[in-house]
């Protein structure tokens, strides 16, 4: 036990730094994913064939290829075209783009679940375009989408560990480096796992709170 405490005294600052990077990666990638997802879902429902086709191809291609391939494409591929990306930026772009495709389906299902009568009532009151979506449709669609979003937010916490393969010093990679110096694999990885839990448990609690709040007034 005192052995473990000694180890932690040494490893803790690096692990905390990794935890910080993991949280930042999660927030940025999720934000990008939500934006891409919502835009793609709205494009899927567009009147214009071209927009629908683009969204369709995007979702199918991104979901049909491994996220690691996408990550390598961004990190190693873009520089070939003279576009330099930092490891963190590459991870955010790849994870955001990847989750965007899945979240597009979540939002799309949410939008499709809205009763036709809601659109009709809103239009009959004069709502149209952006305002119709912002005030009437999206609040209802997002409520329906919240459980799905919560799921992907939880996955994102863990999938940020993929960024370790492009040298981002996030939580897992910090752990790996400490292990390679101390050979205390069990203790370190157990601690790393616990630290992921320390993010995902409060997140799960928070999304459930959000769901409850958004169900306010519903039968």
């Amino acid at each position: 036990m005192s052995n473990y405490l000694d180890l932690m005294a040494e490893a803790w600052p690096a692990l905390l730094e990794g935890l910080k990077i993991t949280i930042i990666l999660t927030i940025l990638s999720l934000a990008l994913g939500l934006i891409i997802g919502l835009v793609m879902a709205l494009m899927r429902l567009s009147r214009r064939n071209l927009l629908r086709a683009i969204a369709h191809v995007y979702v199918d291609v991104v979901r049909g290829t491994p996220v690691l391939v996408q990550l390598f494409l961004v990190y190693y591929g873009l520089p070939q075209f003279g576009i330099r990306v930092t490891p963190i930026l590459a991870a955010v772009l790849a994870l955001g783009a990847n989750y965007g495709a899945y979240l597009a389906e979540v939002f799309r299902a949410g939008l499709l679940s809205i009763d036709r009568g809601q659109w009709e009532a809103a239009e009959s009151l004069g709502f149209q375009g952006r305002q119709l979506y912002r005030k009437i449709i999206l609040p209802q669609a997002i409520r329906v989408s919240l459980p799905g979003i919560g799921n992907y937010a939880n996955s994102m916490v863990k999938d940020t560990s993929l960024a370790s393969v492009v040298t981002v010093m996030e939580l897992l990679r910090s752990g790996q480096i400490i292990v390679s110096a101390t050979f205390q694999s069990f203790e370190i990885y157990l601690t790393v796992g616990a630290m992921y839990l320390a993010i995902s448990l409060p997140l799960a609690w928070y999304t459930r709170r959000l769901e409850e709040r958004s169900n306010r007034g519903y039968a």
Partner: protein
Amino acid sequence: MPETSILSATDIVKDFKTQRALDVCSFGVREGEVVVIIGPSGSGKSTLLRCLNLIEVPDEGMLRLADEDVLSMPRDGLGRKRHSNIVRARTTLTGSTSMVFQKFNLFPHMTVLDNIAAAPHFVGSVPKELARKTAIDLLERVGLADRQSAFPAQLSGGQQQRVAIARALAKKPRIMLYDEPTSALDPELVGDVLGVIRDLAASGMTKVIVTHEMDFAQQVADRVLFMDKGRIIEEGTPEQIFAHPVHERTADFLRRVRVQVPPPISTADTDLRGTHDIN
């Protein structure tokens, strides 16, 4: 159509995939007039009403609001401007009409007060406080002032429909369109809602009402239209339509909904039919 119509639809045709819902219908309503549309289920009553605010876009026909030609189909439905033509026409029509739906269609994520204040505030740019104040006044008029912070799901059907009527009135329409406003209600709740609609009739509001409540129709209508199979078969005063229908189909329908009707003159020899319960 009479020149004096505040809203008119001329030669409207509307096809759905497998069938014709409106087969050349013409119809107009004058300022302050209450027109009631009756007819069997599937006869095109809702479709006609929904063409009046372009929730349904007709395939053929003209829509006029006061002295403005709002939409002329198929001409305005062709080419690149199709969508913008229809949006512009709908904006014009929804600026002057409000619709009350069979299933209320209140916004479930908003309180009663916000349901009513939303359109005046967001669409009509009325300042929020004023929109809310107007909403509270309207809630008082429909007898629900105490439920302003409830959500729709916490109300009974009759209460929801009264909120929907207040919501429709809040944007100060010139014409109210009612599509079977009591058909989704439990029988004991129908009276309150009809009462609200009727009292607003007394206030001189122009109305087009689709309903199966024949007593109510008789009470409030200035003019009654009978529709069948996508056509307007017959129209007249309540007295003419309910007591002396000219067409056999009208008489038949009225018998089925149990309005006591003397048989049409031409078929007087079949006078026993009126006493049969055809339902």
